[in-house]
């Protein structure tokens, strides 16, 4: 009898109705975790040296970063130092650290770290000058920013 004819059974299509939900979830995750670069580099982006014995920098809000690299203009030789949004001289480093300290709570100041992001071609003289300045104003915690890796041969050529 035709009334009881067997219906053709196929696999039902997978519902894609929840696809937007999944995508939105991912979207929100990335929206929240994204950080737009707040400092525009005025110098050439430093190529960080590689090191294997690295420690992660904790307490990101207490880190002040000093960039050291070559000028974007290839005619200008020597290392340029950038803090925040401007290129400075070595002698301006203390005032930068003081302004960074002013933004933090007083009891947090002793946990503040200075991260030095220097190009691997930069000269040690510049770095040592900065270290001396930091010593003068008692900003003793520093971190030489590096990328993680086991092959160090690219550091010196």
């Amino acid at each position: 009898m035709s009334k009881f004819k067997k219906k053709k059974k196929g696999l039902p299509a997978i519902s894609t109705a929840s696809l937007p939900d999944i995508v939105f979830m991912l979207l929100f995750f990335f929206m929240v975790s994204t950080t737009m670069r707040e400092t525009d580099l005025l110098i050439k982006k430093p190529v960080l040296p590689v090191a294997s014995e690295v420690k992660k920098l904790e307490l990101k809000s207490l880190v002040s970063t000093i960039y050291i690299g070559k000028s974007k203009d290839t005619r200008i030789a020597g290392d340029k130092i950038q803090v925040n949004d401007k290129i400075v001289e070595v002698k301006d480093i203390p005032s930068f650290i003081f302004s960074e300290r002013a933004l933090r709570k007083e009891d947090e100041v002793k946990f503040m770290t200075t991260s030095i992001k220097a190009d691997k071609e930069a000269s040690v003289g510049t770095i040592l000058d900065i270290k001396e300045q930091l010593r003068d104003i008692n900003a003793l915690k520093i971190s030489f920013s590096t990328s993680r890796g086991n092959d160090l041969s690219s550091n010196y050529k």
Binding site: V23, F30, T34, V124, F144
Partner: protein, 204 residues
């Protein structure tokens, strides 16, 4: 006149819009973890005190502007620094620094050769890194990395002998659940192999 039904807005393109946004944020997101070699600078003091240090307790590392290395007046490669530093620190040829008025004791945990012409004790062993102003930063970091590696390996070895776990494992354990006993162990290891690195004025 027949009323026209207002059709529903098609939501099918919602996923496309969301995807577009998603891809934008995927591309722009930077989750850079800032990592590096941590160093603590020595405090500045007004009083200049002359500390007499025996020549044999200092490992001289000199690097010139051509990125060439001298360790104890011998030309070496960067990759040798770790081995030489470990040998020097772990030598244990004499007695250590007196702590709290107690006389210094010979190093009972060192695995070195006990060479009388090398360092007395890990607590006395000083590594001196003298660089030129023209040395490249990459080279400088490589040497710092090797020295750091030497200390880490020595601490790891000792930790494994005493507690059955490496120093790195102790540190990561401590980060997960800080406890007093773990803190004591870490401090003990740090005290047994303290990092004493000095950087004299660079060569001009």
């Amino acid at each position: 006149m027949a009323r026209r039904e207002i059709g529903e807005i098609n939501a099918g393109s919602m996923a496309d819009i969301a995807f577009l946004l998603l891809i934008f944020f995927l591309v722009t997101t930077t989750m850079d973890v800032d990592s590096g070699i941590a160093r603590k600078l020595p405090e500045k003091t007004d009083v200049q005190s002359d500390v007499i240090v025996k020549e044999k307790n200092v490992l001289d590392i000199v690097v010139n502007r051509n990125n060439q290395l001298l360790v104890e007046n011998e030309y070496v490669k960067v990759t040798d620094v770790k081995r030489l530093a470990m040998k020097f620190i772990d030598n244990g040829g004499g007695i250590g620094t007196p702590i709290d008025d107690k006389p210094g004791e010979p190093c009972d945990y060192c695995g070195g050769e006990k060479d009388p012409n090398s360092s007395d004790h890990p607590t006395k062993a000083i590594i001196s890194l003298q660089s030129d102003r023209g040395t490249t930063y990459g080279m400088y970091i490589s040497i710092q990395n090797e020295i750091e590696g030497a200390y880490t390996e020595l601490r790891n070895n000792l930790s494994k002998k005493l507690y059955g776990r490496t120093y790195d494992e102790l540190l990561s354990d401590y980060k997960d659940n800080p406890s007093k006993s773990l803190q004591d162990k870490i401090d003990d290891l740090k005290n047994k192999y303290p990092q004493i690195i000095t950087e004299p004025e660079p060569i001009k």
